[in-house]
């Protein structure tokens, strides 16, 4: 009998030695003459357990982690092919509390299936959303997305259905669907996990979007820092084309939708939608002045849907299970679930998909288990490099769009980076400005010049030079960048800086003393 063994091909799992583990399992199985099939799945997102090996048993999949190549012989000796006891055993995967307490809708298949197998995908409910969409009118599909309450998961949280409706309402010979996979925020990796672990869900979501708005061509704009996702996406695209889920006759419907991946070239700004469109056209990623909106004049001047990976990958389940099903998760105006990403100085980092409303404290301590260093958690940065730093006194805040806005923070793409009490927050404020200076597209002055002046002013404050005067100058500069920048890079870089001035001002004073 053949036993299925799952060893992730997810980039993070590979970064911890998953390839060597897979090789060792193959070698050991041959030596012991046992029949195994090694499936290279995505990651379940329990990253402190990676490389996490799973074995399919009659009782369900049993997890072992974190496995090193040197552990493989002892796993075979412990009869892990039947789920045998071993110090690395985590029991049934689905029963691991970190996973069991989650509500995985968008990431339901990530880490479960072979990411490039159409058969696996369809057997686990894949392409049901597209099948239903093809039986609906375009307006009905858009209405379903609108009714679900889905908002852009890339960071801007704009209602997806409204964007789609705008594109649908345009008369144009050519329309486009583009996927923003330029996941540049530090502390985020949910797009990467989806593309590496379940790319067909993204492909299905984009196909539905194309059918809904009348676009026949799609592009995935992927950051060059994700070579593993690039390989997996292309394998999945080929599989979808061969099985006629993509191409001139999608699922025999007579409708056309083509899709390809384009690589970025290391520019954070290309995660801004108009900059991404410029880059897709092969140009410098300088942002465009809005209006016109991309939904009206987007890629090559045509009406274009621009959505993030998680947003598009959530569409299939909405079409399959219905708007009601999806909007019943969540709270207030934050409907559905969000794949949160827990990173930085945390004991159990990973992907946590839950309905909106979980508190930061639950995320950091119940899931994260506190800091990796064992020291007190002093601050978390939520929403990437443009997000505010939140002090421990505000950890009871709920993780939803409105609650975070109410404390002057933002959710962004759902990344949470944890810092312990050794962090120098004055340096983090400096880094926010430095990062903006490195990544500014240069089009507008507040961002291009303001960020450089920001680094200089913070350096003077840290050095204790005319402290009060320079603190006033920094406050003014933040205001200018906020009000005067053309896009979110310059316009939001002040958020982390201002949050540090508000909650961690003592770090500027400490620096001034020496």
């Amino acid at each position: 009998m053949t036993t299925d063994i799952y060893v992730p091909r997810d980039a993070s799992a590979l970064s911890l030695g998953a390839e060597a583990v897979a090789r060792a399992i193959a070698v050991e199985a041959r030596a012991r003459r046992v029949d195994v099939r090694i499936v290279r799945n995505g990651s379940r997102g329990l990253y402190w357990l990676e490389p996490m090996v799973e074995v399919a048993t009659p009782a369900g999949r049993v997890a072992y982690g974190s496995v090193k190549a040197a552990d493989v012989a002892s796993l075979f000796a412990a009869n892990f092919l039947s789920g045998g006891a071993h110090p690395l055993s985590q029991g049934l995967t689905e029963e691991i509390p970190y996973l069991k307490s989650q509500q995985r809708l968008t990431a339901a298949r990530v880490g479960v299936i072979d990411p490039t197998s159409i058969a696996d995908y369809v057997a686990s409910g894949g392409y049901q959303g597209l099948r239903k969409a093809l039986a609906m009118t375009q307006a009905e599909i858009v209405q379903a997305v609108l009714d679900s309450g889905l908002r852009g998961r890339g960071g801007a949280a704009f209602p997806t259905g409204i964007k789609w409706k705008t594109v649908l309402d345009q008369n144009a010979a050519q329309k486009y669907v583009t996927c923003n996979a330029d996941e540049g925020d530090s502390g985020t990796f949910s797009d990467r996990m989806l593309m590496e672990g379940d790319p067909l869900t993204l492909i299905e979501g984009m196909t539905i979007a194309g059918i809904a708005v009348g676009a026949t061509q799609g592009y995935i704009y992927l950051r060059v820092e994700y070579p593993h996702a690039y390989a997996t996406l292309n394998e999945a695209l080929n599989a979808a084309r061969q099985a006629r889920y993509l191409g001139p006759d999608v699922m025999g419907s007579g409708r056309k939708f083509e899709l390809e991946v384009r690589l970025g070239a290391g520019a954070y700004i290309c995660g801004e939608e108009t900059s991404m469109l410029e880059s897709l056209e092969g140009k410098r990623g300088e942002i465009r002045v809005r209006p016109p909106l991309p939904a009206i004049k987007g890629l090559f001047g045509q009406p274009t849907v621009v959505n993030n990976v998680v947003t598009l990958a959530t569409v299939p389940i909405i079409l399959d299970r219905g708007s009601e099903f999806y909007r019943n998760f969540g709270t207030g105006k934050s409907r559905g679930t969000l794949p949160l990403q827990l990173a930085g100085n945390v004991r159990r980092g990973g992907l946590i998909e839950r309905a909106f409303g979980l508190s930061l404290r639950e995320l950091l301590y119940d899931y994260g288990g506190g800091s990796a260093s064992g020291r007190p958690i002093r601050a978390v940065q939520v929403g990437g490099p443009l997000g505010a730093y939140i002090p421990a006194s505000q950890f009871d805040t709920a993780i939803d769009y409105e609650a975070l806005t109410a404390i002057g923070a933002l959710l962004g793409h759902g990344g949470v980076v944890v810092f312990d009490d050794t962090v120098d927050m004055a340096q983090m404020a400096r880094f926010a400005m430095e990062f903006c200076a490195i990544e500014s597209c240069g089009k507008c002055t507040p961002c291009r010049i303001g960020s450089i002046r920001g680094v200089e002013v913070i350096d003077r404050i840290i050095a204790g030079v005319e402290r009060e005067r320079n603190l006033g100058l920094l406050a003014d500069l933040c205001e200018t960048m906020l009000q005067g920048s053309l896009c979110g890079l310059g316009g939001m870089t002040p958020f982390p800086v201002q949050s540090i001035l508000k909650h961690f001002a003592e770090d500027f004073q400490a620096s001034a003393r020496h």
Partner: protein, 159 residues
Amino acid sequence: MQPLTDIQRQAVLRIVAEHKSRPGPLIEILHGVQAGLGYVPAGAVPLIAAELNLSRAEVHGVVTFYHFFRDHPVGRHVVRLCRAESCQAMAGGALGEHAKKRLGIDFHETTADGAFTLEPVYCLGNCACSPAMMIDGDLFGRVTAQSFDDIVAARDRPT
């Protein structure tokens, strides 16, 4: 400006021909050139511009806008060390200092023997396993000074 060698010229023309008919092909072409030649030589700029009916300034502008493209050769192995917040929270700063010391170079520099180039990168998406780095497309997580030395030593072996 150093003129292209015949081999380089042929390679650039071949890559341009491969992508020319696609919409917005310039960045795809630059990726192809850098993958093939290791960098985008200044001499390739007028050639690509003429083939795509763009100005030299437009092509030069794109090459210089993106951090990933470079106009000079680099070492045999490119070490990209993450400098972003999540890695900073896990002593990425100290790892950067160690890397510079071990390789004897600063960021954006290449070792005298041409073995390594050290580049900063802002996020590799490996944030739950910080600090992270990538060498020649291979990703590493939870990197320590010791594991950095081991990884580098394994690449440095004469072949």
